[in-house]
């Protein structure tokens, strides 16, 4: 089972994703952390998320680039957070995939999906603004948008979290009404 969780900043995506993981039961829980703690603000964010996960029995794997190299126990429940950080790392860090970011992340996710019993991926909606970005920021939106579409194809469920309320764009049982996919 693979679930893609998306939504705006501070919308309750993480809490929802963690609930999903816990609901998968007693399998080993792996947290793949992608935020590189490069300053005080990001360290605080990391700390906040660590506190949220406390007591839920997660083992944390840090992965800033090269998702394909990550090994998780077979049948484990994996939470990857957040795709938007991973994409930025791959694009802008020296050892990142740069212009091959979309393909490399796709490979990484497929590899994870094969190893894990259940996979939950948190991503981010950053696409509905009036300012149209050029250069790196525009490319970043393009890459993340493409990856989100690819992940949605792979996923069994796609959920947009709006202020803690889940809106299902794709659902395993029953299916959301009016749903239609690109592919």
């Amino acid at each position: 089972m693979m679930i893609l969780v998306t939504g705006g900043s501070g919308s309750g995506k993480s809490a929802f994703a963690e609930d999903q993981v816990v609901a998968f039961g007693e399998a080993e829980r792996i947290y793949i952390a992608t935020m590189f703690p490069f300053d005080e603000e990001s360290r605080k964010r990391v700390q906040r998320h660590q506190n949220m996960r406390k007591g839920k029995g997660f083992e944390t794997i840090e992965c800033y680039t090269g998702l394909e190299r990550v090994r998780v126990p077979e049948g484990s429940t994996v939470l990857l957070e957040c795709m938007s950080n991973l994409v930025a790392n791959e694009m802008f860090q020296e050892d990142g995939a740069h212009e091959r970011t979309v393909q490399e992340i796709q490979k990484g996710v497929k590899s994870l999906r094969e190893q894990a019993g259940n996979l939950v991926i948190v991503t981010n909606e950053i696409f509905s603004e009036a300012v149209s970005y050029e250069g790196e920021t525009g490319t970043y939106q393009e890459y993340l948008g493409k990856i989100n579409q690819e992940l949605a194809l792979l996923a069994d469920e796609v959920v947009e979290v709006v202020y803690g309320i889940p809106i299902y764009h794709k659902k395993k049982k029953g299916g959301a009404s009016g749903e239609e996919s690109v592919e």
Partner: protein, 126 residues
Amino acid sequence: MEMMIGGAFQGKSALAEKRYPQVNWINGADADWEMLSCAKGVLGFHEYIRKEMKAGRSVDQLAEDLIRVNPDVILVSDEVGYGVVPIDAFDRAYREAVGRICTKLADYSHRVTRVVCGIGTVIKDA
């Protein structure tokens, strides 16, 4: 009239072209009013609004005019109103115009599909 809306890079155009393969789509960024008024389908409709405003032409009556002359057109447009209020005055006016125009057009449309992560959800089917 029908609309397909959503954020940038969500696969709106791909979904529109898949749903209506027979339609000869035009791009809002390259279209003039003549083209818009007889088009079967328009991709990047928001770009038409931006282009007109950049050229100093009024878009106040765009929704009403389009409904009058081309009531069966299929419009694919970005949603641009979810971010921080832009610093630039033109960006603010553009953002507001896209919202107002698309709201009127969505009110007239029989079907509106919102696309997230490549998945279209029909949010209006009247």
